[in-house]
Amino acid sequence: MSTPLLLYIASVLGAIALVLMMPRPGNRLAPLGALLGAATLGGCWLAVAFNTGLIHDFSANTLGLPATTFIYFYIFSAIAIAAAVRVITHRRPVYSALWFIMVVLAGAGMFLVLSADFMAFAMIIIYGGAILVTYMFVIMLASQPLEPGQEDQAPAYDRFGRDPLWACVAGFLLLAVLLTVSFDNPDRPTMLANPDAKMASDAEVLRDTLTGRGLDAENSDELASSPQFTADRVSNVERVGLDLFNKHPLAIELAGVILLVSLIGAVVIAKTHIPPGEQHPDPESAAAKAAQTQGGAA
């Protein structure tokens, strides 16, 4: 087992880059951090992509994906990571939310690479469409608009983070551990010969059993190994749906209950009367006061 030394170096460099990019007043080193981060990510990706053996022998856990999809993975992955960095470093919440949409879109692309079509579109619709729009509304409701070119007038709590150094140290320590595990686990089961086909045949047998058809097929393994079978015979949506409603009925109900409860909760919160004494009359002066105290503390 080779020690993924390169990953550790990349983690350290990434941490440094992120610390540099973290928002703080008069931060002139942010571009430098961006460059360093990009270089780290690029180098890392090169080391992973080209079979240099520097990191790991990947032959044991390939996903059996066609070679043409590789490039999409690397592109989406880079976009997702870069957008994620912007989410946590941007000083203005609106832009953070927009960058988060980018993360969601890139993530959806990676779902497509993994041939999880339904999940990809569900992600875009629910996250990008519903949740992020809610966020944008709240940001608009709860933030004071900033004049262009006056970003430094943003509230203090947006202008500098809290203990970025220690957070990055701890976070990238955790990342290093996670990467070590994900790249180098001798106990991981070996890859199926054709996982797609297995998945599809599972679903087909199940569907045929449910619909009364396909009594001819004794089991999915037989079906999967038959030459006439192609994975496209059962769509991804169909597979997820069959799995969801056959294997997790209780979880479905619970999810419904959770959604109902949160709906009611949201209504209650929205209708909560704030006593006049506690209602802040002038959010801007309060924000300024908070900024002053924070500045004094800093």
Binding site: N51, V87, P93, S96, G161, L178, S182, D282, E284
Partner: protein, 106 residues
């Protein structure tokens, strides 16, 4: 060229998922804007969801994808409640600073 490239494996997706998760975590800890903090938790969900889908692919099993649906459910519920709370808190204190809410501190 294809021979030079490493075959795409589970590790690649786990790596990306881990990076998203950790970045979300760091963002949650460092950013002081309540809304951005919640955005960062959503980003942590993204990393987890990516790992789940990758596992599903690897094991030839759609249960991982099914779980992403539940993750989405929780994310939606959380967004609804948390954002409602954020609006209410903002109306009370006029600020989104998380450190304005430490009356329970010792």
């Amino acid at each position: 060229m294809n021979e030079m490239l490493t075959p795409l494996g589970l590790s690649h997706f786990l790596m990306t998922g881990s990076i998203l998760f950790v970045l979300g975590l760091i963002g949650f800890v460092t950013r002081r804007n309540l809304i951005v903090m919640f955005l960062c938790t959503e980003m942590m969900f993204q990393g987890v969801a990516l790992a789940l889908v990758a596992f599903a692919k690897f094991h030839g099993n759609v249960t991982g994808q099914t779980f992403v649906i539940f993750v989405l459910t929780i994310a939606a519920a959380e967004a609804a409640l948390a954002l409602g709370l954020v609006v209410m808190l903002f109306r009370r204190r006029g600020t989104l600073d998380v450190e304005a809410w430490q009356t329970m501190s010792g």
